[in-house]
């Protein structure tokens, strides 16, 4: 809301600078968006103050409300506008019927008005300073009262109304064309103003087109009504708009100000459009008004919560100033009743906030919280991140929602979770893998000349199990492409290969408990011959591999992109490591080269060797893989170094010879492998 600073002077005798006023409002919880000093021909040296009112303070959506706040803060007296009595010259026989959702309605007819008169210059200027367009004197005055008192008014062209007025809920899908030409079909929980023929206004939100005031209007029916917040809340939004009236009604307007607002509007209209004024027609259901409950404030408890020492006398002054009508203190407690304009004071905590506000949040004392010992928990994600950072990976964070296209390329699993109201069509699907974010980041950086990239991200993926159930999994995923390291004056580095990727994964998992195995996977976006699942305790917990050549083609890439993804929560990390005895006796090694079929995996030979190498077996290392000249086309040679060591003594050559014989025989029998001589 924005308004002229000088307007405040209609209500309070305030002489502070605009800056001071804005400071006071800010510190009272009315956020000041800004102010602008101006020189107006009509209001003189003035300022435009812009406020950002929080939803709990509907009472401050008016100059009166803001003035009331300033009055309490500065201990000033608040004056309401003086209204000269209206002499009614006739009675309009219109009958009014209210309902529980709209329990109070005041109306009056003005006939023989001059709709083409000019709005008073001061009012016109103040409206302009509040960023309100001038329309005609009737609409201008209703807008003026809305800004001044916070009471939305509505004016109907009296001649277009048929019969009596009732406030009622819409008959399902009741149609009405609103002032701004939009046609709405109202649900049965929407409130309307109706005449005998049907809805003439979307109550508290917007008037109807057919009954609107025009430049040929001769007489108007002015409405000043109270609608319950619950009847207005969310209704305008449901139809995709918001009005100054709905904004106020849904936050709550003073339910005792309707008559005053009508009188004030009448007096101002009398000055411009003239005409004859009818007596006021009204109807109300007082038992449907918001309950003004007694609230008890325990000052001792309040002081404890705030850490303050507010005296009864001070508290009394604050409570009175806020219009809370405090009774006198009984011991430490005082009973108050919330005023008709404050919808946010319902329980003791609300009163504690009022005390704190008036005392000034800044002057409340400050006390450090005493630390308490807590056992630290290991953070898997952090642990893994640090390993990757030390290996040269840059951590990225990408959006959790991705495009349908990216999902089709890099998604996993069956069900997806979709955003119903996405901000763009590229952000519709909750990702089921982190791959697309990594690939898109890679492409962005590639476009900026970065060919060698190592990226990773930690984030959740969303798997919709059925239409209701969603499971979120925390994933660490990465991408590598280009050279292992940057080229230097010493020479060029090698291209990253699958085995560099596998090395990273093995390093990542080396600190985790349990054993991990790798086996073929069937993800569409990976190269079938250069990818693998990552298994832990027989459960697939991730994958790694090169992107499928078809994907590389569609991204226009020549170089391989290597990707990995691991579910973080499935891993556990060792707390304290314990020392293991190592042998002080020498090791013995033998280098063995086997010629096997190409289809035999190195892992198969390793297994056979490990299980036949005897009890002093220590480790195995593959140091060469060879295919080509000197070896049959369907064969390859694997050179393996096997090492033995005993904890108890120096191994004898004969022991090793026996073990080697056993290994050679087993490889021959189980894998048809020949020892190369």
């Amino acid at each position: 809301m924005q308004f002229s600073k000088n307007w405040l002077k209609d209500f309070i005798d305030i002489h502070l600078s605009t800056e001071d006023i804005c400071d006071q409002l800010t510190m009272a919880g009315l956020e000041v968006d800004g102010f602008e000093n101006i020189n107006s021909k009509i209001t003189g040296k003035d300022s435009i103050i812009k406020l950002d009112i929080t939803p709990n303070r509907g009472d401050c959506f008016s100059v009166l409300g803001v003035a009331r706040e300033l009055a309490v803060i500065n201990n000033l007296k608040l004056h309401l506008p003086k209204i000269p009595p209206i002499h009614d010259s006739f009675k309009d026989n219109i009958k009014i019927k209210v309902c529980p959702e709209g329990p109070s309605y005041f109306g009056r007819t003005l006939s023989n008005i001059s709709i083409n008169a000019n709005t008073q210059p001061l009012i016109a200027e103040r409206l302009k300073l509040s960023d309100q367009k001038l329309i005609d004197p009737v609409v201008d005055i209703t807008n003026y009262i809305l800004l001044e008192l916070g009471q939305p008014l509505h004016a109907f062209d009296r001649e277009t109304l048929n019969g009596n007025i009732s406030v009622r809920t819409a008959i399902n899908k009741e149609e009405i064309t609103l002032l701004d030409d939009q046609q709405v079909k109202l649900d049965s929980d929407c409130l309307v103003i109706s005449d005998d023929k049907g809805a003439v206004a979307f109550a508290g939100i917007m008037g109807g087109k057919e009954t609107a005031v025009s430049n040929s209007t001769k007489s108007v029916f002015l409405e000043s009504a109270y609608f319950k917040p619950s009847a207005i809340r969310g209704k305008a939004r449901r139809y995709g708009f918001q009005t100054d009236a709905s904004l106020r009604f849904e936050r709550g307007v003073d339910f005792r100000i309707q008559e005053l607002a009508l009188e004030r509007a009448s007096a101002l209209l009398k000055e411009t459009v003239g005409g004859d004024f009818s007596s006021v027609s009204s109807s109300s259901m007082k038992n449907q008004f918001p309950k003004q409950k007694n609230i008890s404030l325990d000052l001792e408890r309040s002081n404890r919560i705030l850490g303050t020492n507010i005296s009864k006398k001070t508290a009394m002054r604050y409570l009175k100033g806020l219009g809370l009508n405090p009774k006198s203190f009984k011991k430490n407690s005082v009973s108050v009743v919330s005023p008709s304009w404050r919808y946010d004071i319902n329980i003791e905590a609300d009163l504690v906030e009022e005390l704190a506000r008036l005392e000034g949040y800044d002057s409340l004392p400050l006390r450090s919280l005493a630390p308490v010992y807590k056992k630290a928990k290991l953070d898997n994600a952090n642990n893994l991140s640090q390993t990757l950072v030390s290996k040269g990976f840059n951590e990225i964070i990408s959006y959790s929602f991705i495009s349908q296209q990216d999902h089709l390329l890099f998604g996993q699993g069956e069900g997806t979770l979709k955003v119903e109201n996405p901000i763009s069509q590229n952000m519709t699907i909750m990702r089921t893998s982190l791959v697309s974010g990594l690939v898109n980041t890679y492409l962005h950086n590639l476009n900026h000349g970065k060919e060698n990239q190592k990226l990773f991200e930690v984030g959740n993926i969303f798997i919709a199990k059925n239409s209701q159930k969603v499971s979120e999994k925390k994933i660490i995923a990465g991408l590598m492409s280009g050279k292992i390291s940057e080229s230097t004056w010493k020479g060029k580095s090698q291209d990253i290969s699958f085995y560099d990727l596998k090395g990273v994964i093995q390093d990542l998992l080396s600190k985790a408990e349990g054993t991990f195995s790798f086996e073929e996977n069937n993800l569409d976006f990976l190269h079938p011959g250069m990818s693998s699942n990552i298994k832990h305790k027989n459960k697939v917990i991730g994958f790694m591999g090169s992107l499928h050549p078809a994907n590389l083609d569609s991204l226009g890439l020549q170089k391989n992109l290597f990707i990995f993804s691991i579910e973080i929560e499935t891993l556990t990390f060792e707390g304290t490591k314990t020392y293991k005895q190592f042998s002080k006796y020498p090791t013995s090694s033998r280098d063995l080269a086997f010629i096997v079929n190409k289809t035999v995996n190195a892992g198969d030979i390793e297994e056979v060797i490990k299980s036949n190498a005897g009890k002093s077996f220590k480790e195995i290392k593959i140091f060469d893989v060879y295919e080509g000249q000197g070896i049959d086309d369907d064969k390859k040679s694997l050179a393996i170094s096997v090492t033995w060591q005993s904890l108890n003594d120096t191994l004898k050559d004969s022991d090793i010879d026996d073990a080697v014989t056993k290994i050679v025989n087993s490889v021959k029998n189980q894998l048809d492998g020949e020892l190369r001589v």
């Binding site: 510190m27 009272a28 919880g29 929080t54 709990n56 809340r233 969310g234 939004r237 849904e250 404890r304 919560i305 705030l306 850490g307 329980i347 905590a349 504690v352 704190a356 506000r357 949040y361 004392p365 400050l366 006390r367 450090s368 919280l369 630390p371 308490v372 010992y373 807590k374 928990k377 952090n382 991140s385 640090q386 990757l388 950072v389 040269g392 840059n394 951590e395 990225i396 964070i397 990408s398 959006y399 959790s400 929602f401 979770l417 955003v419 119903e420 901000i423 980041t441 950086n445 990239q453 990226l455 930690v458 959740n460 969303f462 919709a464 209701q468 159930k469 969603v470 979120e472 390291s485």
Partner: protein
């Protein structure tokens, strides 16, 4: 051979070996010469073999003389070896001068995203204060995101959160506050928790991204007070920025706290909002079964990107999600 002739021969060999040794310029030459005098077939050994021709009483004397010759030659050899080594090292040093201005072979450093780093920094302070780190789902339901936090259906406070709705009739959490409720539901008071995570709001412009990170803190204890909240946040901000900060609290509105406040810090002369906080609303505590006669609570929430922008002097919010390596490499 008589003794005199032997003495003469020894004297000749001694000076001959010395002069020949001195002419050697390589260790290998010197070694060859050494062998020609002291090797198996060397001159000295030949003389030793001739000792048999001496009278027995003179043999001892002659042997002694030959041994002295042997150790003299040995000593000359060692002396010259050491000076040859010295010369060789000097030559080596003269030839082995590197251009030390050439760059060293570094391995490329990776980097932690500034948002992750900031979350870690912040959480580490609160962990030291005895807070547990808690997390919750990002795809939430209305109950945890709004209703349990005292935001009823259609409440205007919902307008403050531009919510993304999901096709499973859930929503993307608009704040990390649902974690408060989930934590209080599953465990008994007292509580000290800190909940970092991603949140989502339908908003995208220069200063808003549709996804960002928040950290929520909650304390529910027997005498949790507003002054402790102020004290804690003051300590936290000083810890985070590493220097004294000028902090201001002003009233604000959150449905789940009462009183509610926003905290501003003085930044380049202006006040800048950095966090929202307040005493937990009794409706929230009662909703999860906390005895409000026994316990009070306070909560606070802050935007991680905002804190990172201030700390690292990052001008553009969107840089966090662009992930340009030229940006990431700086952290």
């Amino acid at each position: 051979m008589n003794l005199e002739a032997l003495k003469q021969k020894i004297s000749d060999l001694k000076s001959l070996s010395k002069s020949q040794f001195e002419q050697a310029s390589l260790q290998s030459e010197l070694d060859d010469l050494y062998r020609s005098f002291l090797g198996k077939k060397g001159e000295v050994n030949l003389l030793l073999k001739s000792l048999g021709s001496f009278e027995p009483e003179l043999r001892k004397e002659a042997g002694k003389l030959l041994n002295i010759l042997k150790s003299d030659i040995e000593a000359d050899y060692l002396n010259l070896t050491s000076s040859l080594t010295k010369i060789a090292n000097q030559e080596k040093l003269a030839n082995e001068k590197l251009d030390i201005s050439l760059p060293g072979l570094q391995s490329k450093k990776g980097s932690q995203h500034p948002v992750s780093r900031t979350i870690q920094d912040i959480c580490s302070f609160f962990e030291r204060m005895g807070f547990d780190i808690e997390s919750g789902p990002e795809s939430e339901i209305d109950y945890y995101n709004f209703e349990a936090l005292n935001v009823p259906e259609d409440h205007p406070a919902k307008d403050m959160h531009d919510t993304f709705y999901l096709n499973n009739s859930g929503l993307l959490r608009t704040h990390t506050s649902p974690v408060q409720i989930r934590t209080m539901e599953k465990s008994e008071a007292p509580h000290r928790i800190i909940c970092p995570g991603k949140v989502y709001r339908k908003d995208s412009d220069l200063t808003h991204t549709p996804m960002f990170h928040q950290i929520e803190g909650l304390v529910v204890e027997e005498d949790a007070s507003f002054s402790q909240l102020k004290g804690l946040l003051n300590d936290f901000l000083e810890d985070f920025f590493g220097e004294e900060v000028e902090l201001r609290f002003r009233p604000s509105y959150f449905p789940f706290t009462e009183p509610s406040a926003e905290a501003d810090i003085r930044w380049n002369k202006n006040w800048l909002e950095v966090l929202g906080c307040g005493m937990v609303h009794p409706n929230v505590l009662q909703g999860v079964g906390v005895d409000t006669n026994k316990y009070t609570g306070f909560a606070f929430g802050l935007g991680v990107e905002r804190m990172a922008m201030l700390k690292y002097d990052i001008p553009d919010l969107r840089a966090f999600f662009e992930n340009d390596i030229r940006f990431l490499d700086q952290f």
